[in-house]
Amino acid sequence: MRPPDFEYELAEDVQGAVSALAQGESVMAIAGGQSLIPLLRLRIARPSRVVDIGRVPGLTGISVSDESTELGALVTTADVAASDDISRSNPLWTEAARVIADPLVRNLGTVGGNLAHADPLNDLPAALVASRGEVLAEGPNGVRTIASDDLFVSPFTTSLEPGELITRLIVPGSPSGAYEKLKRAAADYGVVAVAVQLDIGDGGDIRSAGVSLSGTSAVAPRSNRAEQTLVGTNGGDDVIEGAALAAAEDADLAADERGSIRYKRAVVGALAARALRRAIARGNG
């Protein structure tokens, strides 16, 4: 189908976008369009006006240090997937970006849009929660920081206020991260996926742990019990098994065309163990 008609406005700066978006609920932002345009074509989204933030200056740029990865909201998932700096200092984000959709979608889809869309099947929300990142948001009341645990409210709903835009992602970096996802087909969303980000000390002790899921009923839930199982240990096989089991048991799953609850639970457990093994090996490597 073709999208319904709407008015179109090209935002020239963040301020302009914010004031255009604050006009009402039927005004929607478009960044890469890779989630919004399919919804327009299926006529699930029916905005009266679309504000194109895709050319707003200042929302691009990747800056990486050992401590953190900072991404402008308009950075594409293809750019994240291809960045050697990110792959060195924050492999969780590289691995998550590389399994998003397919290369064509990644060429246009943005990191800000991937989070703001809050699709429980999207991959970057789980990466953000596991790495305890935060986003900078700018809206009619100014700029604020939103922690990953406070960003996702429910499927397709974030805590962004009307008119508020994600402008930047700030993600603590760690070499001890990994992302595991099971897909039915290359260009499809995943069945489930597991994001892991650990902070491992020189002696191999796990000082902090982040574990989050994609493909569950909630958006990027944190696996608290899995994290508690890991922290303070050396991440041996029994710890990995225990943490993976906890992540699987606590996952709130629903049966659909991608699989039954039992099947998905088994997959969460297997992927969690795999991601943890890789993250721990990287931390000790």
Binding site: G33, D52, L108
Partner: protein, 154 residues
């Protein structure tokens, strides 16, 4: 209506259209470039793939105004002076098409990929076309054609 200027296959084209127009419809209906196909409603099939500013994208998932000021290459822009692009030759030589519906999309995804990765391995080639569906060939001949171009053995 919005006024849009897009460079299509090297030629600047000015079009006035509704902002809800998809790039694929702008190409097919306003510019009569019907080599770019529409195979689905859900942005999954890649039959509509074109190269925009050097990157392969699904033209059914780009609004016409998002393409304003950009440079778009479609399958019609591959041949030069009536001579097929080596990729097109390789697709023919390797039987990389049967019904041909998906072919223009594959060609454009392959073009953008090989332009930036001139000597890929088979796994990279397979990943590069993972956004394109073909219901006929089983993909192997498409992979063979792309590798032949990369290796210069066409």
């Amino acid at each position: 209506m919005t006024d849009i200027t897009v460079t299509v296959n090297g030629v600047s084209r000015a079009v006035s259209c509704s902002p809800s127009t998809l790039l694929v419809h702008l190409l097919r209906e306003e510019l009569q470039l019907t080599g770019t196909h529409v195979g689905c409603d859900t942005s999954h099939c890649g039959a509509c793939t074109v190269v925009m500013d050097g990157r392969a994208v699904k033209s059914c998932t780009v609004l016409a105004p998002q393409a304003h000021g950009r440079s778009v290459t479609t399958v019609e822009g591959l041949a030069e002076d009536g001579r097929l692009d080596p990729l097109q030759e390789a697709f023919a030589d390797h039987f990389a098409l049967q019904c041909g519906f998906c072919t223009s999309g594959f060609l454009m995804a392959a073009k953008a990929f090989l332009d930036t990765n001139p000597s890929p391995d088979e796994e990279q080639v397979r990943k590069a076309i993972s956004g394109n569906l073909c219901r006929c060939t089983g993909y192997q001949h498409i992979v063979d054609a792309m590798l032949a171009v990369a290796e210069g053995t066409t």
